[in-house]
């Protein structure tokens, strides 16, 4: 049974230019259909199935079975909870459902940490991103925001091929509305135009810029930095910038591809990056960097956590409440990346960074209010202060990526 999977060629999503040749060819009938206002559901399912299968063929074949088991588990869970929620709303059932839906991911993340780096058999490419979608459906079912849920739409949403491996993370209601309501011909033409532009920009990002920063610059710099050793040295600073740009262009490039292919299929998958390096502070940065992830954490972790804290008046002071929520929110995001010290430190680094950022913004607001009352001009805001804020934010985020890269782990401990 598994023999045939292992012998098939493997096609990693957006891995090389050839992939686009195959994919665009397979999508052509879908594009023609949408142009004439039709969705060929059966053909679309077949194409999605084949391309998903090819992600997990060859040496990755066990992951295919992990994916199938995972989809069955999450689909049953989401549907069962939604069905239950129509009758009753017990808080503990809700927590239980959320717990069970993240359980596979917890196994996958914890296994390498306690088993000498061996990957869990439950894991597969994309599990982290699917978990966000499943948890989101459970939470919105509890709120009564998702009124109807049935088998096929849930599977279709979870297994949406363009974003399966690494997002952007979509929301069920938004996705389903796009799926059910086909764009007008004019709207679809605009979507096609955007898709073409995104694919070209994505090629430039991923296959030229990310290659330049990640391979040509980064590799020699890493070698030099490791040869010198110590806590920090000049080539390590180079590693920091080269890795940071590599990370951005690689992931932003991937996201452009995933969005473009979604658009070709008539689905407006949300954006993931919006010029993150022009942010003036860390709060703004998180509205521009990996947006579908940070917005997910904002809506499903931060706001709900703040809601519970405030409703039960856990802290008297609102600033304490928001600080605790920032640290929990970002700390959890760190753990989500994986259970290694550098991912976790990365998460808390941003959590504390947001607390400091928030404190500074409040202080500035208070100062300006006092100056206004005293008839003074507000604190200066000019090209220098703005330029300095951007420079500072840029370097803080680049440093956080150096932590995230795990390079310091090699430099310090190996």
């Amino acid at each position: 049974m598994t023999q045939w999977l292992a012998t098939l060629p493997n096609l990693q999503p957006y891995g090389d230019p050839m992939y686009f040749g195959y994919l665009l060819l397979a999508l052509l009938p879908i594009v023609v259909g949408l142009y004439f206002g039709r969705r060929f559901a059966l053909y679309e399912t077949a194409v999605s199935f084949i391309f998903i299968l090819l992600m997990f063929t060859g040496p990755h074949w066990p992951q295919f079975y992990a994916l199938v088991a995972y989809i069955i588990w999450e689909t049953l869970l989401v549907l069962a909870y939604h069905h239950y929620r129509q009758q009753a709303d017990n808080r503990w059932i809700f927590y239980g459902a959320v717990g069970l839906s993240i359980l596979p991911l917890v196994f996958v993340k914890v296994t390498p940490a306690i088993d000498n780096g061996h990957a869990s058999l439950l894991g597969f490419l994309g599990i982290s991103y699917l978990t966000f979608k499943a948890v989101g459906m459970i939470m919105e079912s509890r709120d009564g925001a998702i009124k109807e849920l049935s088998l096929w739409p849930v599977v279709r949403f979870l297994l949406f091929m363009p974003t399966l491996s690494s997002g952007p993370i979509d929301r069920y209601r938004r996705f389903e509305e796009d799926y059910q309501n086909l764009p007008s011909r004019a709207a679809y033409m605009a979507m096609l135009q955007k898709a073409v532009w995104y694919i070209m920009l994505g090629f430039f990002y991923k296959f030229i810029l990310a290659y330049f920063f990640g391979t040509i610059l980064l590799k020699p710099l890493e070698g030099q930095a490791l040869a010198i050793g110590g806590v920090f040295n000049l080539p390590t600073l180079g590693v920091m910038y080269a890795y940071g740009f590599d990370l951005f262009f690689d992931f932003a490039g991937y996201s452009l591809f995933a969005i473009a292919i979604s658009y070709l299929m008539g689905v407006k998958t949300p954006e993931n990056f919006n010029k993150p390096f022009i942010s003036r502070n860390l709060k703004e940065f998180w509205n521009r960097w990996h947006m579908s992830l940070s917005f997910w954490f904002r809506d499903y972790v931060f706001m709900r956590f703040v809601f519970v804290l405030m409703k039960h008046k856990v802290f008297k002071n609102r600033n304490v409440t928001s600080s605790v929520a920032y640290i929990v929110d970002m700390g959890l995001m760190g753990f989500w990346h994986g259970i290694t010290w550098y991912y976790i430190v990365y998460g808390f680094f941003h959590g504390f960074g947001l607390v400091i950022n928030d404190w500074w913004l409040r202080k500035k607001k208070r100062t300006n209010l006092a100056r206004k009352k005293a008839g003074q001009a507000p604190l200066p805001s000019n090209w220098f202060t703005i330029g300095f804020s951007i420079f500072l934010t840029f370097n803080i985020t680049m440093f956080s990526f150096l932590i995230f890269s795990g390079f310091l782990d090699r430099l310090w401990f190996h």
Partner: protein, 80 residues
């Protein structure tokens, strides 16, 4: 019958020291009046003032982002 609009404006002024009466169709996130933290405070205040339950999923930035949309949302939930 409570004047929902006047009450909403009063709550926002009370919580965030911002008078939105002449910008009821402006995006309150873009205007810097609301952020994630403020939305939760606003929801709790609205819930206790109007004895309604606002689902957390409805707090989205597309549905409750202007003064008029908040008023409409509260009225809808009061009549539900």
């Amino acid at each position: 019958m409570m004047d929902v609009k006047r009450e909403v404006i009063a709550i926002i002024e009370d919580l965030f020291m911002e008078d939105i009466s002449d910008m009821m169709d402006e995006d309150l996130f873009d205007a810097g009046v609301l952020d994630s933290m403020a939305v939760v405070e606003l929801v709790l205040a609205l819930e206790s003032k109007f004895s309604i339950k606002i689902p957390v999923s409805e707090m989205g930035r597309d549905d409750w982002n202007t003064g008029n949309k908040i008023v409409a949302g509260v009225e809808e939930l009061r009549n539900a």
